[in-house]
């Protein structure tokens, strides 16, 4: 535990160093108002990374999150166009439920048919995008077609932060409790840590993975509405390729692709690190190529870090070494 904390401490240090570096070139970046804006901009990534974290913990991966987001977002947008009077509460419920249902499709295919998760979600990723095309006929839903309350919800400011940011904070808190304080969260860690042992302990591995996909899908659905509302536009290719940012945020945040290792704090920090890079590099005049290269380098360095950390966790055979721990 203290070890994991220190990993997060390193990441926090890296974020502070990054901010300091950016501040030397462009001091206004670290003004509270700007930092709040960066946080708000990173909120969807944080929410999605938390969902992805749960999936990766169980030794799976969900590549369909961005497509799920786009499909759920499109459905919410079309619902709003068809029924402008529908309360936002209902829209939120629809987004959560539809996202969860799409996640459940992934989960069932992994659980019941035993198809590798990367294959399942690669497939559903494409299918979800195809379904958006069918639903929308390839047409955009533009801001003038959406109701003011539909687009205004995510941007509504409470106590200095937009609702989008508050939702990210709320999701983070709920996930923190779920992952650390519920038997289900514990089971998710156990399944990824050692699926064989988890079976003997009375945990249903397939069902746990199914639950992980439902959580990931539900959060992707939630982001779907928030994304559409924030940018006030819905179309087929929205958030295209964003699933890779989400996986990258998890990896940077110390979520082990091998499963079983990772924390809510890590996923949030990983997302923030990536979010800051994406927001800061343009303002300090770094070319788009270098932005991509720096993001990529951050991922590889993070993986190296985690691989090294995992190695030191190997078996201690010497009695003397065991005592000193």
């Amino acid at each position: 535990m203290s070890f994991l904390k220190s990993r997060e401490a390193i990441l926090t240090g890296a974020i502070v160093a990054l901010l300091a570096l950016v501040a030397t070139r462009y001091g206004a970046f670290i003004r509270p108002a700007n930092l709040a804006a960066v946080f708000n901009d990173t909120s969807p990534l944080i929410i999605l990374a938390l969902g992805q974290m749960v999936v990766i913990l169980t030794r799976c991966i969900d590549l369909s999150v961005a497509a799920n987001l786009a499909l759920t977002g499109m459905v919410c947008a079309m619902l709003n166009v068809a029924m402008p009077g529908l309360p936002i509460g209902v829209i939120l419920v629809v987004a959560l439920a539809l996202g969860a249902a799409l996640g459940a499709i992934n989960g069932l295919l992994v659980w019941k048919l035993d198809i590798p998760p990367i294959v399942v979600t690669l497939g559903t990723m494409t299918i979800f995008r195809g379904v958006i095309f069918l639903l929308s006929d390839g047409q955009w839903v533009n801001s003038h077609e959406m109701s003011a309350s539909f687009t205004g919800f995510a941007r509504h400011v409470i106590l200095g932060l937009p609702v989008l940011s508050w939702i990210a904070i709320l999701v983070a808190l709920v996930m923190l409790v779920v992952m650390t304080r519920t038997p289900m969260g514990r089971a998710l860690y156990a399944v990824g840590g050692n699926p064989h042992a988890a079976v003997y302990t009375g945990i249903n591995v397939g069902r746990s993975q199914f639950i992980a996909f439902v959580i990931s899908g539900m959060l992707a659905g939630l982001c779907g509405y928030l994304w559409i509302a924030r940018y006030a536009v819905a179309y087929v290719d929205i958030a295209g390729g964003f699933e890779l940012d989400v996986v990258a945020a998890c990896v940077i945040g110390g979520i082990s692709i091998a499963g079983g290792i990772g924390t809510v704090g890590g996923a949030i920090l990983g997302a923030l690190f990536l979010g800051i890079i994406k927001n800061a590099l343009p303002v300090v005049d770094i070319s788009p190529f270098w932005q991509l290269a720096i993001s990529g380098a951050a991922i590889i360095i993070a993986v190296l870090f985690n691989a090294r950390a995992d190695r030191t966790k190997g078996r201690v055979i010497l009695k003397s070494a065991e005592v000193t721990q």
Partner: protein
């Protein structure tokens, strides 16, 4: 498993092990017959693992044109010596002589180059490669530019297969063959590298009687070619049928060697188990109470049949048998990992339907698996989370874990097992093997079970830890817990059990207690030589 489905693919009419009349065999029948000079001789071989001396100065000699049977209980050091012979392990002491000259096998390749090859019980071949590729992997004939000469490779593979009377296509992928055919490919591979020493590690374990007969004929052919054969088997009829010489190991030590003609079954059994049961087993007389578990007619389509027994409070029930007798498979079924085809389990008189490990835990039956590394602890999680994992229901309220209670539970049971670790927050992966095992046992005790099943509880741990485990088992039984102990170690079975069930080939063959419980009766029942022995 899936291999079962492939049996149908084998054309039954083809005798796989039929010796061929002509071809390369005939040319070789005039090669040297048996001699008195060993091809390969091992002397004073020592191999140590942390805490365990697996081989303690053993010797082994293999003669050209003769079959030497290596005999010993599980843990005698048979597989260790095979790994030394094939270059996988390096001995810590002693010497290996090939034709009288000292050699070393630093790698598997070196052993293969020296002409030592092994056919394992589970063949180590490549399912996705063709028969010809499997036979010549690593030493394929090269053509132009150093590329593999496929045509020649197939031709030579065909010749070798013809030589042993195997008719399968050289292009077929190995995964499409049955076990018997895979063995033939393994044997062909051995022939292709001009092997002088062929090690057969329980080659008949997965074969039918007819195929076994055909294998014997093949072994006779290999003998005729002057190859030295090391034959490892638990089956006495097989050993007497095929071996010319024997070597007996016990607990990593050399016991005896000689010619089969000069020995009988009873003497061999005596040598295998003959150690005085002098290790101290702290079995205390426990008060045996009422029946806790009754198993009636448990059966599985492929793994075991008609298992019946009852278990009482405070009793230690031993399950003895050879590896593959179906003991672990039955236990896994009893705790709901696999589903029995029929059978009923009663716990404290009530019929319990156990469809998953969670049901078993509910019913009060827990299982500490044999492969603790893989099936036991969750090494990425801290100690306390491992211990409480199956008991989270008890430490939770309204669906939330209460950390203080969780910690208290973990502390109680880790202290009971005398687990010394700096902190319960320590990830289990950083603990030693012995301590990991303590975590696993603490985990199960924390569920407050009625029956604890320990599968090979002392396998691979050193003598000191063994005594601690035995002491602890005795203590558990003394506290009224019923213990089922699956073990392949005779002293452990004899020392710890109140009663022993012997399994062979998926069936219960004996239930022994009191004076019937001797090393000889155990081995006879387990190896299936009981009736013959009585007749003699």
């Amino acid at each position: 498993m899936k291999d079962g489905a492939h049996w149908g693919a084998i054309p039954r009419a083809v005798p796989f092990f039929r010796p061929a009349g002509g071809g390369i065999m005939q040319a070789m029948t005039n090669s040297p017959a048996s001699g008195e000079t060993p091809v390969l001789a091992l002397d004073q071989i020592v191999k140590e693992f942390p805490g365990v001396r697996a081989l303690d100065g053993v010797q082994l000699a293999l003669y050209p044109g003769e079959v030497t049977a290596l005999i010993g209980e599980n843990g005698a050091g048979k597989s260790t010596i095979v790994k030394i012979l094939t270059g996988i392990y390096q001995p810590d002491g002693g010497d290996i002589r090939l034709d009288g000259a000292p050699v070393r096998f630093p790698t598997a390749q070196a052993a293969a180059d020296a002409g030592v090859t092994a056919i394992h019980q589970e063949t180590v071949l490549f399912d996705e490669l063709s028969v010809a590729e499997n036979i010549f992997l690593g030493h394929a004939p090269k053509g132009k530019f150093g590329l593999i000469d496929t045509a020649r490779m197939k031709r030579e593979a065909r010749a070798i297969l013809d030589g042993i009377g195997a008719s399968m296509d050289v292009d077929v992928r190995l995964r499409d063959l049955g076990i018997a055919s895979k063995h033939l490919v393994a044997i062909s591979r051995a022939l292709s590298i001009e092997a002088r020493v062929v090690i057969m590690d329980e080659p008949t374990a997965a074969l039918s009687q007819k195929e076994i007969e055909e294998l014997y004929e093949l072994v006779d052919q290999l003998k005729a070619q002057g190859k030295a054969i090391l034959f490892i088997s638990h089956k006495f009829d097989e050993i007497f049928r095929i071996a010319d010489r024997y070597t007996v190991f016990r607990d990593g030590q050399f016991v005896a060697a000689g010619k089969m003609a000069e020995i009988d079954e009873a003497q061999l059994v005596q040598m295998m188990v003959g150690r005085a049961v002098d290790q101290i087993f702290p079995k205390r007389a426990a008060r045996i109470g009422d029946e806790v578990l009754k198993v009636v007619g448990y059966s599985h389509p492929t793994e075991f049949e008609d298992i019946n027994f009852s278990l009482k409070r405070g009793e230690i029930l031993g399950f003895y048998g050879l590896v593959g007798a179906g003991r672990s498979e039955f236990m896994q079924s009893l705790i709901g990992i696999t589903k029995p085809s029929k059978g009923v389990a009663r716990v404290a008189g009530d019929i319990r339907v156990i469809r998953s490990p969670a049901d078993a835990i509910d019913a009060g039956i827990v299982y500490v698996p044999e492969d603790r590394g893989k099936q036991g602890a969750i090494t990425t999680m801290p100690i306390f989370q491992n211990v409480t994992l199956p008991s989270l229901g008890k430490t939770s309220k309204n669906g939330f874990i209460r950390l203080a209670e969780e910690f208290a539970l973990a502390r109680e049971y880790t202290q009971r097992l005398d687990l010394r670790a700096a902190s319960l927050d320590t990830p289990v992966g950083s603990l030693s093997g012995g301590n990991q095992q303590k975590v696993v046992i603490a985990k199960w005790l924390a569920t407050q079970p009625k029956v604890i099943i320990l599968d090979e509880p002392t396998k691979g741990i050193d003598i000191g830890s063994k005594a601690a485990v035995h002491d602890f088992m005795s203590e558990l039984a003394g506290q009224g817990l019923s213990v089922i102990m699956v073990s392949s170690e005779i002293p452990e079975i004899l020392g710890m059990s109140d009663r022993v069930i012997v399994m062979r080939e998926g069936r219960m063959v004996a239930e022994l207690a009191g004076d019937d419980l001797t090393p000889e009766t155990l081995v006879r029942h387990a190896a299936g030589i009981g009736s013959k022995g009585e007749a003699a």
